[in-house]
Each structure stands twice: as structure tokens, then as C-alpha cells.
């Protein structure tokens, strides 16, 4: 036996080394990361500043509605413990499974689910990609089955059911918790604060949250933050390919150019900034990847994001609007204060529209609360003047009213209507101050 091994030592050794080399190359094949890591740390170190607000902070549902046993619904705001945040934190620990379609293309079914008794409704201001929902709530909903979500209905049962609603085609999917959840922190957070009666209705084939009774809303005051123009131009325009940034001023408009493709204009009177980057090459983002891409662009602008949230998406032009909010209510300003609009590079141009002025620190306010009419009254009025047919949305929002020059802002409650694609103040629309 030993003799035979000795005779065949060479072929045996050869077989062993060949086997070993196959094994080793196999390992190298499976773990290619050993070879490509070295540069990543250095390249990251030079990238822009760290952001304080995460993707989940920006893409949050902004409003919370509680549905009672009799299906009456109240919009909640002003609860100290911030129930929206508490629900999000709790839901991250829930195991939700069995994604099932429960309604499709049926207005009636859709409204019935929105009015599910003993439930909480979280509302996004516009559809949010399912991958973003998954990240925010730590879930695994298949974006191929349900691409976007507008509203989330959570039944307040020991083992809750969660309905994901998509306004488009009135799609509703249901998830079921696999075990009982702890409702105590959420119930504690719901206590106190203010409530406004609301009712979901479908108007012009759009589900709207309406206000059946007159509403009394507080006014808010805050200080302003002024972003430095030079810092902004540097962050947006300067990189290794740019030799110099040139600037010219004409009629109160300052224009910065960097090379042939990048241009930033700043209007001094309004604080508005427009930035365009002609990239030449298009890049198209999917419904699922666009929000993440534009969040990264937003974070890179250096605009203070503390009170800014996702507000609207236009899939056709790959544009997302991020807007300041107060207690979840959107804030509108004629000069785009506290608003950032970014268009991805789907046609060769990346475009930013923002303001150097944003909300800073809330201040105690002595201003009185304001009572607004019911939305029924305002929809009737719009019907009378023949403008109801062009309405696609209705929101209770806040109007940005500059206070002490450059220092403070007063936020006044007002109804806003989506009129031919733009959010306009009800008062302005009725009194004919809106360009037709």
C-alpha cells in the first residue's frame, strides 16, 4: 500500500494542488469585496457635509386622523408627545405579513376602508414610493405589487390590520400583524392636543379630506434662518471640474455661472434661488429610486431641513417639492420661502428652485386663533363662481406672512386648493388674484 502511494506520489500531489487552487479561486470568486475596498474610504471623506435629518424624517406621513366607533373622524394636532412619531417608532417593531389586495378601482370600497371604525389613519401629502414606506416603517412590502402609498389605515386591535391605500386606481392592500402589539405608548401619545372634525370625500375623482364644520386654528410665530448665498453657490456649483465661479448683477438679479453648463440666479428682493445644471446626458429614475436620489440632492444643498418634509411628486417631470410644515400642516409662501423643488436630470437638465429664507425657532405667540368656514361652504362658493370643476385638491394650510422685517414670520391658517396644478389660497382664488 505504502509502496503504491510512494510510486504515485507525484500525481497525488498534483491532484491536491489543482484541487486547492480550484477551491481558492472559488473563494476569491464568491468574495470579490476583498479586492475592491481600498479606495472607498478616501473617496467618501471628501464628500459633502453630514445631514442631520434622515430619509425617514423627510418622507413622513404629515397628518394623523382618528376614526371613532361611529365612523366619525378627527384630525389630531398639537399633542405634545407627537403621536405620528410614536406610531412610526412602534410600527417599526411590528411584524406585518400576508399582503392581500382587498379593493381595486372602486370609490365606494376605498372610502369605506378609509372610514374603518376604531382606527388611525396616517396621511402622506402625495403618493410615496413603497420602498420609502418600507424604510420608514421597517417593513417589506413588495413594490412590484403596490408601487406607491397615499394613506395608511391601522385598526386599533390587539393584533392590528394595516391597510395601505393608493389613490390612483383606488388600490387597497392589507397587512396583518403576526402577533399582538403594545398599544399603550400610542394611546398615551394620542391624549391631549386639539381635534378637528374631518370627512373623506371624493371630489372630481380625487379623495379629499374635507372639513364639515367651521374650524378654529391657532396662528404660529417663528424666527427666520437666512442661508449664506456664497456657501450655497459653493456647495451646488464647485467641484473638481469647475475652474472658477463667475458672477454678474443686473436689475437686482445676481447670476453665477460655472463653466458652460451650470447657472444659478438669485433674486435679491424675494430671496429666491434658481439653479440649473445642463448635464447633456439624461438619467431616468424609477418611481422607487427617485425619492432617494432627490433626498440626497436635497441634503447636499445645505438648506436647514428641520421643519421641511416631502410634499409633492410629479412623476412625469421627475420633480419633488419639499415644503416647511407646522404641526403637519403645509406652509405656503408666494416667494417659496421654506420650500425646495428639485427636478432630476430626466431631460439633460437638473433644476433646483429654493429660497435662502427658511423657518428657524418657534416663538410663543400672542396672536389670536382664526376661524375658517367649513369646506362645504367654500366648495359651494367655488361651485357658484364656476371653479369647482378645476379643483383637484383641498388642504388646510398656513400662509407665510412676514413679520418684523427679515426676523420673524407669522403663520396664518387658510384653505388651499389645487387649482389647475397649483396650490392657491382660497381667498386669492375667489377674489380673482390668481393668474388664469
Amino acid at each position: 500500500m505504502i509502496k503504491r502511494i510512494k510510486e504515485n506520489a507525484l500525481p497525488i500531489a498534483l491532484t491536491l494542488v489543482v484541487g486547492l487552487s480550484i477551491l481558492l479561486s472559488g473563494v476569491a470568486w464568491i468574495n470579490p469585496f476583498h479586492y475592491e475596498h481600498r479606495q472607498s474610504a478616501d473617496s467618501l471623506a471628501t464628500s459633502h457635509q453630514a445631514t442631520m435629518q434622515t430619509l425617514s424624517d423627510i418622507y413622513q406621513p404629515t397628518q394623523l386622523i382618528k376614526t371613532q366607533a361611529d365612523q366619525s373622524q378627527q384630525l389630531l394636532y398639537g399633542q405634545d408627545r407627537n403621536p405620528r412619531l410614536v406610531i412610526q417608532k412602534q410600527m417599526r417593531g411590528w411584524q406585518l405579513r400576508r399582503l392581500t389586495q382587498v379593493a381595486s378601482r372602486n370609490e365606494h370600497d376605498y372610502l369605506q376602508i378609509l372610514r374603518t371604525e376604531q382606527a388611525l389613519v396616517l396621511v402622506y401629502p402625495d403618493p410615496v414610493a413603497t420602498t420609502i414606506f418600507n424604510q420608514t416603517f421597517n417593513q417589506q412590502v413588495d413594490p412590484h405589487r403596490l408601487a406607491t402609498i397615499n394613506r395608511i389605515v391601522i385598526t386599533m386591535r390587539a393584533t392590528p390590520r394595516v391597510y395601505l391605500l393608493q389613490d390612483r386606481n383606488y388600490q387597497v392592500y392589507r397587512l396583518t400583524a403576526t402577533k399582538a402589539v403594545d398599544w399603550a405608548p400610542i394611546k398615551a401619545a394620542l391624549a391631549g392636543g386639539h381635534q378637528v372634525n374631518v370627512d373623506f370625500q371624493i371630489i372630481n375623482r380625487h379623495p379629499l379630506m374635507t372639513f364639515p364644520h367651521p374650524v378654529t386654528m391657532p396662528t404660529y410665530t417663528a424666527t427666520l434662518a437666512h442661508q449664506n448665498l456664497d456657501n450655497l453657490t459653493q456647495t451646488l456649483m464647485a467641484d473638481s471640474t469647475v475652474a472658477a465661479i463667475r458672477s454678474t448683477t443686473k436689475n437686482g438679479v445676481k447670476t453665477f455661472t460655472a463653466g458652460p453648463s451650470r447657472k444659478l440666479t438669485y433674486t435679491k428682493a424675494t430671496g429666491q434661488v434658481q439653479y440649473e445644471d445642463y448635464r447633456g446626458k439624461d438619467s431616468n429614475y424609477s418611481t422607487q429610486s427617485l425619492p432617494t436620489h432627490l433626498y440626497n440632492q436635497l441634503a447636499a444643498t445645505g438648506v436647514p431641513l428641520e421643519q421641511i418634509h416631502y410634499d409633492a411628486v410629479v412623476p412625469a417631470s421627475q420633480t419633488i417639492t419639499y415644503r416647511s410644515t407646522v404641526e403637519g400642516f403645509p406652509i405656503f409662501s408666494n416667494d417659496n420661502y421654506g420650500t425646495v423643488r428639485i427636478k432630476a436630470n430626466n431631460d439633460g437638465v437638473e433644476r433646483y428652485q429654493l429660497s435662502l429664507i427658511s423657518l428657524a425657532t418657534p416663538l410663543p405667540t400672542a396672536n389670536k386663533a382664526v376661524t375658517l368656514p367649513s369646506s362645504v361652504a367654500i366648495l359651494n362658493k367655488l361651485h357658484q363662481v364656476g371653479k369647482l370643476k378645476d379643483i383637484r385638491g383641498l388642504r388646510l394650510g398656513y400662509y407665510w406672512q412676514p413679520g418684523a422685517p427679515g426676523k420673524t414670520v407669522t403663520l396664518q391658517p387658510a384653505y388651499y386648493l389645487d387649482y389647475r396644478g397649483d396650490w392657491v389660497r382660497y381667498q386669492d382664488l375667489i377674489e380673482g388674484r390668481v393668474n388664469e
Binding site: A28, A41, A50, L85
Partner: protein, 264 residues
């Protein structure tokens, strides 16, 4: 060339191939921990160590807090009724000197004596509202703070600071008293201790060769509006340069992540 010779050549060739593959493999394994995908913050920490800055272990956990209004309380009327001290007032805060200093005793440690003192309304006003804070205290001070939503007040307007002499005797105190109001906005997430330090370093607020001590999370006054203070959640970092005995405190607004300049 016979078959045996070819076998030998192949044997040596494969041994070389194996050695090369194995060496890259082990080399790769050896360097893997350092090559893990680093976050922005971790890279900054590495840079800081390169600048000779000593950093404690910092949490990446985000806290939560409120914008809250607090009004300075008037201590003057009550102060006249207190015993064993002479006091004067400055900017709404009281500075008092004990007639007889409080001395540490064998059976009764100082901490316990101060606790008794705080519970005695004839000697200190609103004493029960203050809680001892080890991180804010030094060799010559013992700092007690009021609490807002369970977190210490970092501004002196909400603190009671006992002053100690060289013998370790408590000679007097300085007191500010706040009455906190309602939150201005609902609770929200703040930045983590790590993000606060990264922000300070990125904005050149931490000189080379400094040592960072523990970070304190609490509330400090951001601005005054109509006689009331607006308080925000704050990360306070104490820095000490090598060779200097006195430290410096930096405060970061834990909502916006910007520095609070007005230290008090």
C-alpha cells in the same frame, strides 16, 4: 520530455498559483476590518484622531425633545426670609454666602448635607426642584439643575451652583429659577451625540490636540422673546486643551445641529 517531467512542471506551477491565491486571500481577510464600509461620521472620527483629538465613545442614538418656553421666576421676595446667609441679586439670579460654611464631616458626606439643605425651605427656595449633575460639577462647584421634560437645564438660569473653597467647604451658592411652560411644538427627534461632535469638528470648533469629555444632553436657552426664554434640546461638549486646567463648553442645538453662541 517525458510525462513525469511534465507532471513536475505542473506541480510547481500550481504550487505557485496556490501561494499567490492564498496570500491574496489571507491578505484580504487581514485587512477586512479596516475596509468595512465606513459612515461619514466614522471617517470624521478617524480624521479627528489624526489631529490628536481625544474623543470618548459617542452614541449614534438620536434623542427626542421639545421647543419649550420658560420664564425666569422671581426669587427676591422669598430670599429675604431665608436664614444663615446674605444674598444679593443680579440679572434675576441670586448669589448667596452662608454665614457659616458647610463643612464635610466624617459621618455625614457633603452630598447628603446638601440634600438636607435643599429640602429645607428656610434655607433654599424651591430646593426640591434641583437635581445633582456630576458632569457639570467641578472641583470647586457642585451643580444642581432643574429638569425640563426629564432632562437637565444647562443654562445657569435653571441651575443652583454651590461654591466650594480649598478646604472643600461650601461657602455659598448661586441660583436661577425657571418656570417652564408648554412645549411650542410636539416632540421631535434630535441629532445624536456623534452627529453633534462631527458638526463641531467640521466647523473648526475643536482645536487640534484637545480632549473631549463626556457629552451632556439637556435644555439651554436659545433666545429671549417678550421676556420669556425659548429652550431647545442641546448637546454640551466640554473641551480641554492639553496643558490648560480650565475647560471650555460648547453647545450644539440638537434640533438644527448648529452651535449656540450665547453661553450662560
Amino acid at each position: 520530455m517525458n510525462f513525469r517531467r511534465i507532471q513536475w512542471i505542473f506541480l510547481w506551477a500550481f504550487i505557485v498559483v496556490d501561494l499567490v491565491l492564498a496570500s491574496t486571500f489571507f491578505w484580504g481577510v487581514h485587512f477586512t476590518p479596516g475596509q468595512r464600509q465606513l459612515t461619514q461620521a466614522q471617517i470624521t472620527l478617524k480624521e479627528m484622531r489624526g489631529d490628536g483629538i481625544t474623543v470618548p465613545k459617542l452614541s449614534e442614538h438620536r434623542q427626542s425633545g421639545y421647543y419649550i418656553v420658560a420664564r425666569p421666576g422671581d426669587l427676591t421676595p422669598g430670599q429675604r426670609k431665608l436664614v444663615n446667609q446674605t444674598s444679593r441679586e443680579n440679572d434675576g439670579q441670586v448669589t448667596a454666602t452662608f454665614d457659616r460654611p458647610i463643612t464635610p464631616r466624617h459621618r455625614l458626606p457633603l452630598a447628603q448635607q446638601l440634600d438636607f439643605l435643599l429640602k429645607d425651605p428656610q434655607r433654599i427656595q424651591h430646593g426640591q426642584a434641583y437635581h445633582y449633575n456630576r458632569l457639570l460639577s467641578t472641583n470647586t462647584t457642585r451643580v444642581y439643575t432643574q429638569m425640563i421634560k426629564g432632562e437637565p437645564v444647562l443654562s445657569s438660569a435653571g441651575q443652583l451652583t454651590f461654591t466650594l473653597n480649598r478646604q472643600g467647604e461650601v461657602t455659598g451658592y448661586r441660583q436661577g429659577y425657571l418656570t417652564a411652560g408648554k412645549p411650542l411644538r410636539p416632540e421631535n427627534n434630535t441629532i445624536s451625540a456623534l452627529q453633534a461632535v462631527v458638526w463641531l469638528y467640521r466647523h473648526n470648533e475643536i482645536p487640534n490636540g484637545t480632549r473631549l469629555n463626556d457629552l451632556t444632553y439637556g435644555y439651554s436657552q436659545l433666545l429671549t422673546h417678550a421676556g420669556q426664554g425659548v429652550y431647545v434640546p442641546t448637546w454640551q461638549v466640554s473641551l480641554r486643551s492639553k496643558g490648560t486646567p480650565q475647560g471650555e463648553n460648547l453647545r450644539v442645538n440638537a434640533f438644527s445641529g448648529t452651535i449656540i453662541r450665547d453661553n450662560n
